[in-house]
Amino acid sequence: MAELLELDGLGVRYRVMGGWRALLTPKAPRFVDAVLDATLQVRAGETYGLVGESGSGKTTLARAIIGLVPHSAGQVRFRGRAIDGRVDSAMRPVRREIGMMFQDPVASLSPRKTVGSLVVEPLRIHGAKGKNLAEEAQRLIRIVGLDAGFLRMYPHQLSGGQARRVGVARALALGPALVIADEPTAGLDVSVQGEVLNLLASLRQSQNMALLIVTHNLPVVRHVSDRIGIMYLGRLVEQGPTREVFRKPAHPYTAGLIAAVPQPDPDLRRAAPPIEGEIPSLRNRPSGCEFHTRCKFARERCRAEAPAYRALGDARGVSCHFPLA
């Protein structure tokens, strides 16, 4: 299969302190690396799930792909061509092909516009030649399973699930080859969560597009994605086919994360929390393997030497000195 999106050693760096405060405290770090050395590929038509806890850099990574935050290292390639988020004119044609669903569906919709004008906004911006906008709005709203009556409504009149659907419609407006969905199910009730995921899955097939789902919700990722990547402190620590990773996680963090999801069965209660401690601060990264402060299997080498990301079989990769699988 062809690689649609390739990230090659991508890094995103945020400035944390500047100006006169930086002069007063010369030793304090000036930058934090929100994403470090991220290498991943999304193939045409597949669903890739990017998983991590808050602060792991998953949202920053997603935003860096479409150039909403500039990257400081590495390269993003789309259909084999390097794209540079810093040059707006270079981004425009790429943004037609990459649809984005933002985290908070209600906050990402302008409260003063009707659903009808919101869903065709991408068409208006990117200049849809010879397209009847009203007809397009009807088509899009129907694709996401709402009826045409919604086109006259305003975002505050929508329920969480409906707002999510409008977000999907907007992402699909330009017929993208890739849709990036940032936490598509956060804040939804379980009975509605399924609706949104089923919609995304069926659209992926009917529109023949790839999906990059960014989420902290492991059951969701397990259900919808073909391959997953696990992020910790801005690094991809493990990647592989979803089924294999869940069956036999290689990185101790992945294993702990999977074990931390409570099972809806009182007979499967856990004796102790699988991962102790908290995520360290990005300003003060641990030495060696950055997970060693919380890892049950950490040895001397883990504290001293950072593990390189290496292949594990032909489809998987992990950055751990002593992988479990």
């Binding site: 969560q193 397990r222 409570p262 809806p264 069965d265 699988p274 102790e276």
Partner: protein, 324 residues
Amino acid sequence: MSAPILQIRCLNVAYRSRRGRLRALRDVHLDIPANRIVGIVGESGCGKSTLISTILGLLAPNAEVASGGSIQFDGLDLLKATVADWTRIRGPRIATVFQDPMTSLNPVMSIATQMIDIQYRTSEPAAEKRRRAVEMLDRVGIPDAAVRIDEYAHRFSGGMRQRIAIAMALLMRPSLLIADEPTTALDVTLEAQIVHLLKSLKRELDGSILFVSHNLGLIAELCDEVVVMYAGEVVEHATVRDLFHRPRHPYTRLLLACDPARVAEGGGPLQTIPGGLPDLAALPQGCVFRSRCPDGIDACQAQQPMRPAAADHEVRCVRAVHHG
């Protein structure tokens, strides 16, 4: 089962609104036995928050509690409690942990000041109160508690703040702790830690916990018994194993089936519950779940009471009782 510490009888709460009276809670009967963890599960709009606010006497001014109901606690009907009663109860007898710890921690007071202040009813030297506060922080897993107690809330991470909120809630050894979605804002690894903390604290502190959550996995992990709510009614109440292994109400069954944590690797579409909540201002006749229920019959058009379906298992469904 021992005598309940909280006994809710025939509770009906409605909100006055421009669209008429929204009947947010209807015919709620609920016992919380001593030393048990009772879970309340339900989706948004099911009445969880109204129920908690009613127990705590914190209902909005436009709420009306119908006469005829009662909430017995400590030999007192909480629905008739006076301001003086509430000062005695809220905090020392019934404590609460909310979803966002920043709503219960004061940002401009150090943790020490807050934790000493809430012991104002005990006449002990401040040093003793401080010692007790440090001990409690230590117990909930705040590293270096004796030093960090003098810091302010913003210096702690989200998980640590929630631990502090729990320590503050338990400081006065309440007999009932209400935990309202205490882990929803936390990551899954921290969530597991907090749930284990609550479990071990409950063993030591000799009280009951009312644990409100929409997360079925957490309910299964922590609770002894579970109450399922839908559109303002309790529709099922059972022991945790019964509820997860032999759910009787069609809504409970569908809710469990929807949880993606249940289905392993996907492929097939996820279960959903088509339709939406009924309008609380114009409730349909009969069972409230009727319009979405896959196995409704004619008898569902009549109002359903809670009925025993098995030992320690009650359900509000005419079919569930007969067909088991």
